[in-house]
């Protein structure tokens, strides 16, 4: 508020001074001069002009200059700040770049490591798979052998069974009609003698 009032006062003073200055030339042009007098200051004009000038100067120095000066100062400050910012940004940029470079290096290293790991793992896996495949193959062969063995055993037992059946059938045939009554009785006697006791528990 105060600034505004001051600016207003300043303006009024300037106006008065200007009006005064403008009012004077009408006097100066009143009489024609010749010779040196043309270029020499007419004291009658000069003194009020000087006074007006001085008043104007004082007024401006008092009120106008600080404003102007402040403006300049502000402008220079802004420029200074911008420059500083630019400098900071540059440093930041360089730092980031360095960081990125480092990270990139790290990433490269990591990638190499991963590849190496993967290779190793792959190698191990391959060895594993190969071993497993071999084991499985061996197992399969074993199983197949076992199956063949079982098949053979089944065949043998079947054969054995049929041999047994046949021989028993032959024996039955022979016994049924092949023996005389006396032979039967002799057999019975043998069996009775060999048989276990009735009393055995």
């Amino acid at each position: 508020m105060k600034d505004k009032i001051r600016t207003a006062q300043c303006g009024v003073a300037a106006f008065v001074a200007a009006a005064y200055t403008l009012g004077v030339p009408s006097l100066a042009f009143a009489e024609e001069k010749t010779g040196m007098a043309v270029i020499l200051p007419d004291m009658l004009e000069f003194i009020p002009m000087l006074v007006a000038f001085i008043i104007l100067w004082i007024v401006l120095a008092k009120f106008g200059w600080p404003v102007f000066d402040k403006m300049l100062q502000k402008r220079s400050d802004t420029i200074q700040a911008d420059l500083q910012k630019a400098e900071d940004a540059r440093i930041e940029g360089e730092r980031t770049l360095a960081e990125y470079k480092q990270e990139l290096d790290q990433a490269k290293m990591q990638a190499a490591q991963i590849i190496a790991d993967a290779k190793q793992t792959g190698e191990a896996a391959r060895a594993d798979i190969t071993a497993q495949a071999q084991r499985e193959a061996a197992e399969m062969i074993d199983k197949a052998r076992a199956a063949i063995e079982t098949e053979k055993k089944v065949a043998v037992s079947q054969l054995q069974g049929s041999v047994a059946d046949t021989s028993v059938a032959v024996v039955s045939k022979l016994f049924g009609s092949g023996l005389t009554d006396d032979e039967h009785r002799a057999l019975i006697e043998r069996y009775v003698n060999e048989a276990g006791s009735f009393d055995a528990s």
């Binding site: 098949e151 055993k153 054969l159």
Partner: protein, 524 residues
């Protein structure tokens, strides 16, 4: 290698003939009075003992074995273990003086046998190393030691929160189609290389189901250490009844005998056996049928009075032997099928009270996609905790807490009130932990990987991952660790617990992987 030559057969026959005993002893004989429904009543045989094996001679000299069950004043009730149609009235029976025995030994591995130990897979005869009685009294207190070794199923939800120890009896219970058998199969597959012999007893199942199972196990290389005892739905009730006991007997052979076939002792360690009874509900139904046709009085739900004893004496045979007796073990995983989730029916309550814990499988969870559909809230393991690996124990405690508070909060959030940040965080953690427990079939996880997965969840590494990505994250994290940081896995495997060093390395590794994981997600 066996050569099929006339000579080899000749030799075999001669050897058998040399061993032939032509001595004729007098035998106690009886006569069949009545046959039907898989059992027979016969007069005579005053010397017969309960549970004795009887030899029925049918038409054309065909021999069928039977089991003496009811001893009455002037007759004996028996069940037939075999071709029922071959026996008629007035056929002769004689006692054998033996009780029912099954052959056992290494030759049975990879085979499918019936409850009498006879092969039914067409792969020829089995060479038995020894015989074991089907009914056997379980060892007493002195011969045992507490469960102290883990039996890893390879299933995250079970190994972390419902740990099973070697020698334990853990019931798997649930409705039909909830994945009971799947858990058992995964457990069998996970025993590869664990020096464990698995016996899967299929009772009253479809023959096609059993065939599928054999194929699955073969595909995963699990048949090499597995014996399948199969009494399918078409087998007679007595066969289904003795099937679990036969399975236990086959397993006991390995437990009571060392690798060299001699009885196990301090310097001849017995082996470890996992026995799966799938499932006992069918066995008990067969036993009910048998008992009713033997005219035994029916009790609750028409089961005979001794069903509790039937199951308790079977499951009591699961044991961890003391070191003086070889330190072998027989772990039993019986299964019970419930009807509409009713665990308070007669048989489920019986078996729950006999076993050392139970794994509940719930239909709702199954259809919500939570598989295995284990309800961790009501599933327990009463003794397995002491057998759990230390690393797992360290992380499982927090998992259990997270899940418990999650369930509690979940109930509250249904009221739709505004939630504070801490609650939201807990909910998010719980949702991820629940997701973490999902697992596919036939992909068992080693215990250290399970521990790392739970560690990652428990230490908040999953909190920033979307719930849908949790399973993928788990898989890729483990792949990553296996590929690039196998040393951490190795350290955990050898230390068996989370040391500060391992934890800090693991934290760094998981963090590193998380960076990659996020990147790969953005790319998609």
């Amino acid at each position: 290698m066996t050569e099929i030559t006339a000579q080899s057969i000749d030799e075999a026959l001669r050897a058998q003939l040399d061993a032939l005993d032509t001595n004729v002893e007098s035998r106690e004989i009886g006569t069949v009075i009545q046959v039907g429904d898989g059992n027979a009543r016969r007069a005579g045989l005053k010397d017969a003992k309960a549970g004795e094996l009887l030899d029925f001679t049918g038409e054309g000299g065909k021999t069928v074995y039977g089991l003496a069950q009811n001893l009455e004043e002037d007759e004996v009730g028996a069940v037939l273990l075999g071709d029922v149609t071959a026996i008629k009235e007035n056929d002769q029976v004689h006692t054998t003086g033996r009780i029912v025995e099954v052959p056992s030994g290494r030759g049975m591995l990879g085979r499918v046998v019936n409850p009498l130990g006879q092969p039914i897979d067409g792969k020829g005869p089995i060479e038995a190393e020894g015989y074991r009685p089907v009914e056997f009294r379980a060892p007493g207190v002195i011969e045992r030691q507490p469960v102290n070794e883990p039996m890893q199923t390879g299933i995250l939800a079970i190994d972390s929160m419902i740990p099973i120890g070697r020698g334990q009896r853990e019931l798997i219970i649930g409705d039909r189609q909830t994945g009971k058998t799947a858990i058992a199969i995964d457990a069998i597959i996970n025993q590869k290389g664990q020096d464990m012999i698995c016996i899967y007893v299929a009772i009253g199942q479809k023959a096609s189901t059993v065939a599928n199972l054999v194929e699955t196990l073969e595909k995963h290389g699990a048949m090499d250490y597995t014996i399948i005892v199969s009494a399918t739905a078409s087998d007679s009730a007595p066969l289904q009844y003795i099937a679990p006991m036969a399975g236990a007997a086959i397993g006991e052979y390995f437990m009571y005998n060392g690798e060299n076939g001699q009885p196990a002792s301090a310097d001849n360690p017995g082996r470890h056996v996992l026995c799966i009874y799938d499932d006992l509900s069918k066995q008990v139904v067969a036993y009910r049928q048998m008992s009713l046709t033997l005219r035994r009085p029916p009790g609750r739900e028409a089961y005979p009075g001794d069903v509790f004893y039937l199951h308790s004496r079977l499951l009591e045979r699961a044991v961890k032997m003391s070191d003086e007796n070889g330190g072998g073990s027989l772990t039993a995983l019986p299964m019970i099928e419930t009807q509409a989730g009713d665990v308070s029916a007669y048989i489920p309550t019986n078996v729950i009270s006999i076993t050392d814990g139970q794994i509940f499988l719930v239909t709702d969870l199954f259809f919500q996609g939570q598989r295995p559909a284990v309800d961790v809230g009501i599933s327990v393991s009463r003794v397995g905790g002491s057998a759990q690996v230390k690393a797992m124990k360290q992380v499982a405690g927090s998992l259990r807490l997270d899940l418990a508070s999650y369930r509690e909060l979940q109930a509250f959030t249904q009221f739709g009130s505004d939630l504070d940040k801490a609650t939201q965080q807990q909910l998010a953690r719980g949702a991820r932990m629940t997701e973490l427990l999902k697992q596919g079939r036939y992909v068992p996880m080693p215990v250290e990987e399970q521990a790392i997965a739970i560690y990652a969840g428990g230490h908040g590494f999953l909190d920033s991952i979307e719930v849908e990505d949790v399973v993928r994250f788990r898989g890729e994290l483990l792949d990553y660790l296996r590929g690039s940081h196998a040393d951490v896995l190795e350290a955990l495997r050898s230390e068996k617990k989370f040391t500060d060093d391992i934890e800090s390395r693991l934290d760094a590794d998981i963090e590193q992987f998380k960076g990659q994981f996020a990147a790969s997600e953005a790319k998609e």
